[in-house]
Amino acid sequence: MTLLEFILWSIVKVAVVTVLLLVAVAYTVLLERKLVGRIQNRWGPSRVGPFGLLQPLVDGAKSFLKEDLIPTGVYKPLYLLAPIIALSSALISIGVIPFGAPGFGPKGFDLFQVSNVNIGLLVILGVTSIGVYGVALAGWSSNNKYSLLGSLRSSAQLISYELALGLSLVGVVLLAGSFNLRAIVEQQATHGIASWNIFGGFQFLAFFIYLMAAFAETNRSPFDLPEAESELTGGYHTEYSSMKFAMFFMAEYANMINVGCVATLLFFGGWTSPFGSHFDHFQNNFLNAVLPLFWFAFKVFLFLCLYVWVRGTLPRFRYDQLMNFGWRVLLPLAILNIVGTSLWLAYR
Protein backbone atom coordinates (compact mmCIF):
# COMPACT_ATOMS: atom_id res chain seq x y z
CA MET A 1 0.00 0.00 0.00
CA THR A 2 1.41 3.32 -0.94
CA LEU A 3 1.37 6.39 1.14
CA LEU A 4 -1.36 7.87 -0.94
CA GLU A 5 -3.57 4.83 -0.53
CA PHE A 6 -2.90 4.84 3.14
CA ILE A 7 -3.91 8.44 3.49
CA LEU A 8 -7.02 7.96 1.36
CA TRP A 9 -8.17 4.93 3.27
CA SER A 10 -7.56 6.64 6.53
CA ILE A 11 -9.59 9.68 5.53
CA VAL A 12 -12.45 7.47 4.43
CA LYS A 13 -12.38 5.53 7.65
CA VAL A 14 -12.22 8.65 9.78
CA ALA A 15 -15.11 10.20 7.93
CA VAL A 16 -17.28 7.11 8.19
CA VAL A 17 -16.55 6.58 11.85
CA THR A 18 -17.15 10.21 12.71
CA VAL A 19 -20.46 10.31 10.92
CA LEU A 20 -21.50 7.05 12.53
CA LEU A 21 -20.52 8.34 15.92
CA LEU A 22 -22.46 11.56 15.47
CA VAL A 23 -25.52 9.63 14.37
CA ALA A 24 -25.12 7.35 17.33
CA VAL A 25 -24.89 10.41 19.55
CA ALA A 26 -28.10 11.76 18.16
CA TYR A 27 -29.93 8.54 18.70
CA THR A 28 -28.49 8.09 22.14
CA VAL A 29 -30.23 11.32 23.01
CA LEU A 30 -33.46 9.89 21.69
CA LEU A 31 -32.85 6.65 23.54
CA GLU A 32 -32.38 8.55 26.75
CA ARG A 33 -35.49 10.63 26.34
CA LYS A 34 -37.55 7.59 25.48
CA LEU A 35 -36.25 5.48 28.33
CA VAL A 36 -36.47 8.20 30.93
CA GLY A 37 -39.98 8.83 29.71
CA ARG A 38 -40.91 5.23 30.24
CA ILE A 39 -39.26 5.21 33.64
CA GLN A 40 -41.35 8.23 34.56
CA ASN A 41 -44.46 6.59 33.09
CA ARG A 42 -44.86 8.80 30.03
CA TRP A 43 -44.17 8.35 26.35
CA GLY A 44 -41.19 10.49 25.59
CA PRO A 45 -40.84 12.02 22.10
CA SER A 46 -43.31 10.39 19.78
CA ARG A 47 -44.58 13.04 17.41
CA VAL A 48 -41.85 13.40 14.81
CA GLY A 49 -41.70 10.39 12.59
CA PRO A 50 -42.67 6.88 13.57
CA PHE A 51 -42.06 6.41 17.32
CA GLY A 52 -40.39 9.81 17.30
CA LEU A 53 -37.46 8.44 15.36
CA LEU A 54 -36.88 11.65 13.45
CA GLN A 55 -36.70 13.70 16.62
CA PRO A 56 -32.86 13.94 16.59
CA LEU A 57 -32.90 15.52 13.16
CA VAL A 58 -35.35 18.12 14.29
CA ASP A 59 -33.36 18.78 17.43
CA GLY A 60 -30.24 19.28 15.37
CA ALA A 61 -31.96 21.68 13.07
CA LYS A 62 -33.33 23.59 16.03
CA SER A 63 -29.87 24.00 17.59
CA PHE A 64 -28.46 25.08 14.28
CA LEU A 65 -31.09 27.68 13.59
CA LYS A 66 -31.09 29.31 17.01
CA GLU A 67 -29.53 32.71 17.42
CA ASP A 68 -25.87 32.50 18.34
CA LEU A 69 -25.44 34.74 21.35
CA ILE A 70 -22.06 35.80 22.65
CA PRO A 71 -22.34 37.68 25.95
CA THR A 72 -20.29 40.86 26.19
CA GLY A 73 -18.31 39.96 29.27
CA VAL A 74 -16.78 36.74 28.01
CA TYR A 75 -13.16 36.18 27.16
CA LYS A 76 -13.83 35.52 23.58
CA PRO A 77 -10.97 33.37 22.27
CA LEU A 78 -11.37 30.80 24.97
CA TYR A 79 -15.11 31.09 25.00
CA LEU A 80 -15.08 29.96 21.41
CA LEU A 81 -12.33 27.43 21.85
CA ALA A 82 -13.87 25.58 24.77
CA PRO A 83 -16.70 23.72 23.04
CA ILE A 84 -14.35 22.77 20.22
CA ILE A 85 -11.93 21.23 22.67
CA ALA A 86 -14.73 19.42 24.42
CA LEU A 87 -16.22 17.94 21.27
CA SER A 88 -13.00 17.12 19.52
CA SER A 89 -11.52 15.34 22.51
CA ALA A 90 -14.72 13.36 22.73
CA LEU A 91 -14.49 12.41 19.07
CA ILE A 92 -10.80 11.56 18.98
CA SER A 93 -11.06 8.65 21.37
CA ILE A 94 -13.11 6.64 18.94
CA GLY A 95 -10.07 6.59 16.65
CA VAL A 96 -8.36 3.85 18.57
CA ILE A 97 -11.40 1.77 19.42
CA PRO A 98 -11.74 -1.52 17.55
CA PHE A 99 -15.37 -2.27 16.95
CA GLY A 100 -15.09 -5.37 14.85
CA ALA A 101 -12.93 -8.39 14.27
CA PRO A 102 -9.52 -7.78 12.71
CA GLY A 103 -8.49 -8.95 9.28
CA PHE A 104 -11.27 -7.60 7.10
CA GLY A 105 -9.98 -5.18 4.57
CA PRO A 106 -7.73 -4.90 1.59
CA LYS A 107 -4.04 -5.72 1.90
CA GLY A 108 -4.00 -6.27 5.62
CA PHE A 109 -5.78 -3.03 6.18
CA ASP A 110 -7.91 -2.94 9.29
CA LEU A 111 -11.45 -2.10 8.39
CA PHE A 112 -12.99 -1.92 11.83
CA GLN A 113 -10.51 0.24 13.63
CA VAL A 114 -9.23 3.61 12.58
CA SER A 115 -5.81 3.03 14.04
CA ASN A 116 -4.41 0.09 15.93
CA VAL A 117 -2.12 1.68 18.47
CA ASN A 118 0.06 -0.24 20.91
CA ILE A 119 -0.90 2.05 23.69
CA GLY A 120 -4.53 2.44 22.71
CA LEU A 121 -5.81 2.47 26.24
CA LEU A 122 -3.36 5.17 27.25
CA VAL A 123 -4.35 7.25 24.27
CA ILE A 124 -7.95 7.13 25.38
CA LEU A 125 -6.97 8.14 28.89
CA GLY A 126 -4.80 10.93 27.57
CA VAL A 127 -7.46 12.31 25.30
CA THR A 128 -10.01 12.11 28.09
CA SER A 129 -7.70 14.11 30.29
CA ILE A 130 -7.48 16.78 27.62
CA GLY A 131 -11.27 16.95 27.62
CA VAL A 132 -11.13 18.63 31.03
CA TYR A 133 -9.99 21.84 29.40
CA GLY A 134 -13.19 22.18 27.45
CA VAL A 135 -15.26 22.33 30.60
CA ALA A 136 -12.74 24.29 32.64
CA LEU A 137 -12.15 26.97 30.02
CA ALA A 138 -15.82 27.25 29.19
CA GLY A 139 -16.65 28.05 32.77
CA TRP A 140 -13.83 30.45 33.28
CA SER A 141 -14.13 32.35 30.04
CA SER A 142 -17.88 32.82 30.46
CA ASN A 143 -17.19 35.28 33.25
CA ASN A 144 -20.20 34.06 35.18
CA LYS A 145 -20.13 32.87 38.70
CA TYR A 146 -22.31 29.85 38.02
CA SER A 147 -20.14 28.89 35.13
CA LEU A 148 -16.97 29.33 37.12
CA LEU A 149 -18.29 27.30 40.02
CA GLY A 150 -19.47 24.64 37.65
CA SER A 151 -16.15 24.45 35.90
CA LEU A 152 -14.16 24.44 39.14
CA ARG A 153 -16.32 21.62 40.38
CA SER A 154 -15.94 19.86 37.14
CA SER A 155 -12.16 20.16 36.99
CA ALA A 156 -11.77 18.92 40.52
CA GLN A 157 -14.18 16.09 39.90
CA LEU A 158 -12.55 15.06 36.66
CA ILE A 159 -9.06 15.09 38.11
CA SER A 160 -10.16 13.17 41.17
CA TYR A 161 -12.04 10.47 39.33
CA GLU A 162 -9.46 10.16 36.60
CA LEU A 163 -7.22 8.56 39.19
CA ALA A 164 -9.75 5.96 40.16
CA LEU A 165 -10.60 5.40 36.51
CA GLY A 166 -7.01 4.85 35.50
CA LEU A 167 -6.29 2.60 38.45
CA SER A 168 -9.38 0.50 37.85
CA LEU A 169 -8.06 -0.32 34.41
CA VAL A 170 -4.69 -1.51 35.68
CA GLY A 171 -6.12 -4.88 36.65
CA VAL A 172 -7.28 -5.49 33.11
CA VAL A 173 -3.96 -4.35 31.71
CA LEU A 174 -2.19 -6.73 34.04
CA LEU A 175 -4.33 -9.59 32.81
CA ALA A 176 -3.70 -8.81 29.16
CA GLY A 177 -0.10 -7.69 29.57
CA SER A 178 -0.69 -4.98 27.02
CA PHE A 179 -2.24 -1.58 26.44
CA ASN A 180 -3.34 -2.65 23.00
CA LEU A 181 -7.13 -2.79 22.92
CA ARG A 182 -7.19 -5.60 20.40
CA ALA A 183 -4.86 -7.65 22.55
CA ILE A 184 -7.06 -7.02 25.56
CA VAL A 185 -10.10 -8.27 23.66
CA GLU A 186 -8.30 -11.28 22.21
CA GLN A 187 -7.31 -12.28 25.70
CA GLN A 188 -11.00 -12.59 26.64
CA ALA A 189 -12.13 -14.26 23.45
CA THR A 190 -11.65 -17.93 24.23
CA HIS A 191 -14.63 -19.11 26.22
CA GLY A 192 -17.17 -16.46 25.59
CA ILE A 193 -18.85 -14.95 28.56
CA ALA A 194 -16.86 -17.09 30.99
CA SER A 195 -13.56 -15.60 29.93
CA TRP A 196 -14.67 -11.99 29.95
CA ASN A 197 -12.65 -9.92 32.32
CA ILE A 198 -15.60 -9.04 34.46
CA PHE A 199 -16.29 -12.69 35.19
CA GLY A 200 -13.34 -14.85 34.17
CA GLY A 201 -10.80 -12.23 35.12
CA PHE A 202 -12.44 -11.48 38.45
CA GLN A 203 -12.51 -7.81 37.59
CA PHE A 204 -15.98 -7.17 38.91
CA LEU A 205 -14.66 -4.74 41.48
CA ALA A 206 -12.68 -2.98 38.79
CA PHE A 207 -15.76 -2.74 36.64
CA PHE A 208 -17.73 -1.23 39.49
CA ILE A 209 -15.01 1.37 40.07
CA TYR A 210 -14.79 2.04 36.38
CA LEU A 211 -18.53 2.49 36.15
CA MET A 212 -18.63 4.97 39.00
CA ALA A 213 -15.63 6.87 37.72
CA ALA A 214 -17.09 6.88 34.24
CA PHE A 215 -20.32 8.42 35.47
CA ALA A 216 -18.25 11.12 37.09
CA GLU A 217 -15.98 11.60 34.11
CA THR A 218 -18.89 12.14 31.78
CA ASN A 219 -20.64 14.44 34.25
CA ARG A 220 -23.62 12.16 34.26
CA SER A 221 -26.15 11.65 36.97
CA PRO A 222 -25.67 10.92 39.84
CA PHE A 223 -22.43 12.87 39.55
CA ASP A 224 -23.69 15.71 37.36
CA LEU A 225 -22.74 18.45 39.77
CA PRO A 226 -20.92 20.66 37.27
CA GLU A 227 -24.22 21.31 35.52
CA ALA A 228 -26.54 20.85 38.44
CA GLU A 229 -29.38 22.99 37.19
CA SER A 230 -31.02 23.38 40.55
CA GLU A 231 -27.90 24.96 42.01
CA LEU A 232 -25.93 26.41 39.14
CA THR A 233 -28.56 27.07 36.46
CA GLY A 234 -26.54 25.29 33.84
CA GLY A 235 -23.08 25.03 35.23
CA TYR A 236 -20.26 25.61 32.83
CA HIS A 237 -22.49 25.94 29.79
CA THR A 238 -24.84 28.52 31.24
CA GLU A 239 -23.64 31.19 28.83
CA TYR A 240 -23.64 28.99 25.75
CA SER A 241 -26.40 28.82 23.24
CA SER A 242 -27.29 27.34 19.89
CA MET A 243 -24.57 25.37 18.13
CA LYS A 244 -21.94 25.90 20.80
CA PHE A 245 -24.27 24.48 23.38
CA ALA A 246 -25.02 21.64 21.02
CA MET A 247 -21.33 20.89 20.82
CA PHE A 248 -21.12 20.46 24.55
CA PHE A 249 -24.23 18.37 24.39
CA MET A 250 -22.82 16.16 21.69
CA ALA A 251 -19.53 15.92 23.54
CA GLU A 252 -21.32 14.60 26.57
CA TYR A 253 -23.12 11.88 24.67
CA ALA A 254 -20.06 11.05 22.59
CA ASN A 255 -18.19 10.60 25.82
CA MET A 256 -20.89 8.29 27.05
CA ILE A 257 -20.52 6.20 23.95
CA ASN A 258 -16.75 6.17 24.34
CA VAL A 259 -17.01 5.06 27.90
CA GLY A 260 -19.44 2.37 26.85
CA CYS A 261 -17.05 1.21 24.14
CA VAL A 262 -14.14 1.06 26.55
CA ALA A 263 -16.19 -0.83 29.11
CA THR A 264 -17.24 -3.26 26.42
CA LEU A 265 -13.69 -3.77 25.27
CA LEU A 266 -12.15 -4.10 28.67
CA PHE A 267 -14.73 -5.99 30.62
CA PHE A 268 -17.22 -7.57 28.27
CA GLY A 269 -15.07 -9.16 25.61
CA GLY A 270 -15.42 -6.44 22.97
CA TRP A 271 -16.74 -7.66 19.67
CA THR A 272 -16.56 -11.34 20.57
CA SER A 273 -19.69 -13.36 21.01
CA PRO A 274 -20.83 -14.30 24.48
CA PHE A 275 -21.00 -17.92 23.34
CA GLY A 276 -17.31 -18.26 22.73
CA SER A 277 -15.32 -18.57 19.57
CA HIS A 278 -16.78 -21.99 18.68
CA PHE A 279 -20.01 -20.49 17.45
CA ASP A 280 -18.43 -17.40 16.08
CA HIS A 281 -16.82 -18.85 12.99
CA PHE A 282 -18.99 -19.25 9.99
CA GLN A 283 -18.11 -20.16 6.45
CA ASN A 284 -19.77 -16.99 5.41
CA ASN A 285 -17.22 -14.22 5.42
CA PHE A 286 -19.89 -11.60 5.56
CA LEU A 287 -21.41 -13.04 8.70
CA ASN A 288 -17.98 -13.32 10.19
CA ALA A 289 -17.50 -9.63 9.66
CA VAL A 290 -20.92 -8.40 10.68
CA LEU A 291 -21.71 -10.52 13.71
CA PRO A 292 -18.88 -9.05 15.76
CA LEU A 293 -20.11 -5.60 14.84
CA PHE A 294 -23.51 -6.60 16.09
CA TRP A 295 -22.19 -7.93 19.37
CA PHE A 296 -20.15 -4.81 19.92
CA ALA A 297 -23.05 -2.51 19.19
CA PHE A 298 -25.35 -4.59 21.32
CA LYS A 299 -23.06 -4.47 24.32
CA VAL A 300 -22.56 -0.74 24.01
CA PHE A 301 -26.31 -0.34 23.68
CA LEU A 302 -26.88 -2.24 26.90
CA PHE A 303 -24.29 -0.09 28.60
CA LEU A 304 -26.03 3.07 27.41
CA CYS A 305 -29.31 1.71 28.71
CA LEU A 306 -27.64 1.23 32.07
CA TYR A 307 -26.52 4.85 31.95
CA VAL A 308 -30.02 6.07 31.30
CA TRP A 309 -31.47 3.75 33.89
CA VAL A 310 -29.17 5.14 36.55
CA ARG A 311 -29.99 8.67 35.51
CA GLY A 312 -33.65 7.97 35.73
CA THR A 313 -33.54 6.49 39.20
CA LEU A 314 -30.72 7.87 41.34
CA PRO A 315 -30.67 11.30 42.99
CA ARG A 316 -27.69 13.60 42.74
CA PHE A 317 -24.81 13.41 45.18
CA ARG A 318 -23.72 16.32 47.30
CA TYR A 319 -20.32 17.73 46.42
CA ASP A 320 -18.53 16.61 49.55
CA GLN A 321 -20.07 13.17 49.22
CA LEU A 322 -18.77 13.05 45.69
CA MET A 323 -15.22 13.88 46.73
CA ASN A 324 -15.29 11.56 49.70
CA PHE A 325 -16.61 8.75 47.58
CA GLY A 326 -13.89 9.27 44.99
CA TRP A 327 -10.96 9.57 47.30
CA ARG A 328 -11.94 7.49 50.26
CA VAL A 329 -13.86 4.67 48.66
CA LEU A 330 -13.02 4.26 45.01
CA LEU A 331 -9.32 4.98 45.18
CA PRO A 332 -8.54 2.50 47.98
CA LEU A 333 -10.78 -0.06 46.32
CA ALA A 334 -8.93 0.40 43.05
CA ILE A 335 -5.59 -0.07 44.75
CA LEU A 336 -6.97 -3.12 46.51
CA ASN A 337 -8.04 -4.47 43.16
CA ILE A 338 -4.59 -3.98 41.70
CA VAL A 339 -2.94 -5.70 44.62
CA GLY A 340 -5.43 -8.55 44.51
CA THR A 341 -5.12 -9.02 40.79
CA SER A 342 -1.36 -8.98 40.79
CA LEU A 343 -1.23 -11.45 43.67
CA TRP A 344 -3.66 -13.68 41.84
CA LEU A 345 -1.58 -13.43 38.68
CA ALA A 346 1.62 -14.13 40.53
CA TYR A 347 0.34 -17.26 42.25
CA ARG A 348 -2.00 -18.51 39.55
Binding site: M1, T2, L3, F6
Partner: protein, 107 residues
Amino acid sequence: MSSALSQGVPLSAYLLLSAVLFALGVVGFLIKRNLITVFLSIELMLNAVNLSFVTFACQWHAVKGQIFVFFVMMVAAAEAAVGLAIIIAVYRARATLSVDRIDLMKL
Protein backbone atom coordinates in the same frame (compact mmCIF):
# COMPACT_ATOMS: atom_id res chain seq x y z
CA MET B 1 6.23 3.62 -0.42
CA SER B 2 8.88 4.38 0.74
CA SER B 3 11.31 7.03 0.55
CA ALA B 4 8.84 9.59 1.69
CA LEU B 5 7.45 7.39 4.42
CA SER B 6 10.71 6.21 5.80
CA GLN B 7 12.61 9.41 5.40
CA GLY B 8 14.43 9.82 8.68
CA VAL B 9 15.00 12.93 10.72
CA PRO B 10 18.54 13.59 11.97
CA LEU B 11 18.58 13.47 15.71
CA SER B 12 20.48 16.72 15.82
CA ALA B 13 17.27 18.37 14.72
CA TYR B 14 15.56 17.13 17.88
CA LEU B 15 18.45 18.34 19.95
CA LEU B 16 18.36 21.72 18.31
CA LEU B 17 14.65 21.94 18.94
CA SER B 18 15.33 21.06 22.53
CA ALA B 19 17.97 23.77 22.81
CA VAL B 20 15.67 26.36 21.26
CA LEU B 21 12.81 25.44 23.58
CA PHE B 22 15.15 25.60 26.53
CA ALA B 23 16.41 29.02 25.52
CA LEU B 24 12.83 30.19 25.09
CA GLY B 25 12.11 28.92 28.57
CA VAL B 26 15.02 30.91 29.97
CA VAL B 27 13.86 33.99 28.12
CA GLY B 28 10.40 33.44 29.53
CA PHE B 29 11.86 33.30 33.00
CA LEU B 30 13.65 36.55 32.34
CA ILE B 31 10.89 38.58 30.78
CA LYS B 32 7.66 37.31 32.27
CA ARG B 33 6.29 39.22 35.20
CA ASN B 34 3.56 36.90 36.35
CA LEU B 35 4.61 34.33 38.89
CA ILE B 36 2.52 31.63 37.24
CA THR B 37 3.95 32.34 33.84
CA VAL B 38 7.43 32.21 35.26
CA PHE B 39 6.56 28.82 36.63
CA LEU B 40 5.25 27.81 33.22
CA SER B 41 8.59 28.81 31.74
CA ILE B 42 10.28 26.45 34.14
CA GLU B 43 8.02 23.67 32.98
CA LEU B 44 8.94 24.57 29.43
CA MET B 45 12.62 24.18 30.26
CA LEU B 46 11.97 20.84 31.88
CA ASN B 47 10.15 19.66 28.80
CA ALA B 48 12.97 20.81 26.58
CA VAL B 49 15.42 18.80 28.62
CA ASN B 50 13.09 15.81 28.47
CA LEU B 51 13.17 15.98 24.72
CA SER B 52 16.95 15.76 24.83
CA PHE B 53 16.72 12.74 27.07
CA VAL B 54 14.36 10.94 24.77
CA THR B 55 16.51 11.82 21.80
CA PHE B 56 19.60 10.41 23.39
CA ALA B 57 17.67 7.35 24.51
CA CYS B 58 16.80 6.86 20.87
CA GLN B 59 20.39 7.46 19.80
CA TRP B 60 21.88 4.93 22.17
CA HIS B 61 18.89 2.59 22.36
CA ALA B 62 18.97 3.09 26.09
CA VAL B 63 15.74 2.58 27.96
CA LYS B 64 17.11 4.36 30.96
CA GLY B 65 17.04 7.64 29.12
CA GLN B 66 13.29 7.31 28.84
CA ILE B 67 12.99 6.28 32.43
CA PHE B 68 14.81 9.40 33.39
CA VAL B 69 12.14 11.40 31.62
CA PHE B 70 9.60 9.42 33.55
CA PHE B 71 11.23 10.47 36.77
CA VAL B 72 11.45 14.06 35.63
CA MET B 73 7.72 13.98 35.00
CA MET B 74 7.05 12.71 38.48
CA VAL B 75 9.28 15.36 39.98
CA ALA B 76 7.61 17.99 37.83
CA ALA B 77 4.22 16.87 39.08
CA ALA B 78 5.38 17.10 42.68
CA GLU B 79 7.02 20.42 41.97
CA ALA B 80 3.88 21.78 40.37
CA ALA B 81 1.77 20.75 43.33
CA VAL B 82 4.07 22.37 45.87
CA GLY B 83 4.90 25.34 43.67
CA LEU B 84 1.30 26.18 43.01
CA ALA B 85 0.52 25.81 46.69
CA ILE B 86 3.28 28.31 47.38
CA ILE B 87 1.90 30.63 44.73
CA ILE B 88 -1.52 30.46 46.35
CA ALA B 89 0.01 31.21 49.73
CA VAL B 90 1.98 34.12 48.29
CA TYR B 91 -1.09 35.47 46.59
CA ARG B 92 -3.01 35.31 49.83
CA ALA B 93 -0.29 37.16 51.64
CA ARG B 94 0.35 39.90 49.06
CA ALA B 95 -2.64 39.96 46.74
CA THR B 96 -0.37 40.15 43.73
CA LEU B 97 1.37 37.73 41.43
CA SER B 98 3.87 40.15 39.95
CA VAL B 99 7.39 38.94 40.57
CA ASP B 100 8.65 42.49 40.64
CA ARG B 101 6.44 43.26 43.59
CA ILE B 102 7.33 40.13 45.50
CA ASP B 103 10.85 41.05 46.47
CA LEU B 104 10.90 41.02 50.23
CA MET B 105 11.51 38.10 52.52
CA LYS B 106 9.05 39.43 55.07
CA LEU B 107 5.66 40.96 54.76
